[in-house]
């Protein structure tokens, strides 16, 4: 489903307007000031709103998940996507992912992990824990574009499910089962293709960095 189709869909009654809005709000988590600057620009140039934080703890605080009730005032916009570095002091990206998936409020937010290290068990562990995707650093514009399309596609599918009427609830349930099983099979093929992508992108990288 193309991004354009998302924008033409009817807003479901009582539905979340941010689903059909073209601007995702992304929370980017990275302890490196250089990487924060780069990911912020990559996301902004891809028409996303961006909030950057420097640690998993700050990310939880921003979301209001740290148990400190006073922090919820910080969040002024719904977060549609979390992009986090894996290796961070304190809470790793994996720890952050787990905390988000354990939360009844935030578990639906897609989480993408970034890492400079192409370690297959690490990638598999993150995907098993519910990460949407895994990006190998240094992150490129093509990576961000791909992620954005993936997220918008998923949000569009959620929106479609919401718009079914009660009369067709049975059919809807069947649809849900069919779409969730097709999305789980597509996510497992995504896992495979992501793994393939990591290997092929690694090959590409070695081609690019060989003496010119």
């Amino acid at each position: 489903m193309a991004v354009g189709e998302v924008m033409r869909m009817d807003i479901p009654a009582g539905g979340d307007l941010s689903v059909t809005s073209p601007e995702l709000h992304v929370l980017a988590v990275d302890d490196s000031i250089v990487d924060r600057k780069v990911i912020e620009r990559l996301l902004r140039i891809s028409a996303c709103k961006v909030t950057t934080v420097e640690s998993g703890a700050m990310a939880l605080q921003y979301l209001g998940l740290d148990g400190d009730k006073g922090a919820s005032g910080l969040k002024d916009l719904k977060v549609n996507l979390i992009v986090t570095d894996y290796s961070m002091p304190g809470l790793t990206g994996y720890d952050l992912l787990k905390k988000i998936k354990e939360s009844s409020v935030f578990r639906e937010i897609p989480v993408v992990i970034m890492s400079s290290e192409n370690i297959l068990p690490r990638i598999e562990q993150c995907l098993r824990e519910g990460a949407e995707d895994f990006l190998l650093k240094p992150v490129k514009l093509a990576d961000v574009k791909r992620i954005k399309e993936l997220i918008m596609r998923n949000e569009a599918e959620d929106c479609k499910t919401l718009s079914h009427s009660n009369k067709r609830k049975l059919a809807e349930d069947i649809d849900d089962t069919a779409s969730s099983s097709s999305s789980s099979s597509s996510s497992s093929s995504l896992e495979d293709s992501s793994v393939k992508d990591f290997r092929s992108s690694k090959r590409m990288k070695s081609e690019l960095s060989s003496p010119l």
């Binding site: 490196s32 780069v38 400079s116 650093k137 240094p138 514009l141 003496p211 010119l212």
Partner: protein, 154 residues
Amino acid sequence: MELAQMQKSLQDYTKSLFLEGVLDSQFLQLQQLQDESNPDFVSQVVTLFFQDSDRILNDLSLSLDQQVVDFKKVDPHVHQLKGSSSSIGAQRVKNACVVFRSFCEQQNVEACHRCLQQVKQEYYLVKNRLETLFKLEQQIVASGGMIPAMELGF
């Protein structure tokens, strides 16, 4: 110097940095992210890299100068520098960090000292080259010219 000449010098200079392996394609990625709305993006990121790296190299020197070297402290610093140099396309710095990390793993203090010197050398080289590159760009802009887009034909 004529504008066209300055622009040619800049292109040749940039090309040489790629050919020498000082910069890799990630630097081109950063240049693609620069436009009229963000005309100083590359120099901003690179400036952050310089500040960050100065700090890391300082910490590394201190850590390695200890009587008993704590490699649990040294390795994260090298990992950080490897990451940030990779993010801006400073290929030789990144490669030097990769070697450095393998000696950290072996807990080889002597070799780590040598690695630190190598990393510093590569860092000062790329710093020098990039500062020259930005000066060339500034001269062009000051003369009312545009920075030529990087040709990828090499």
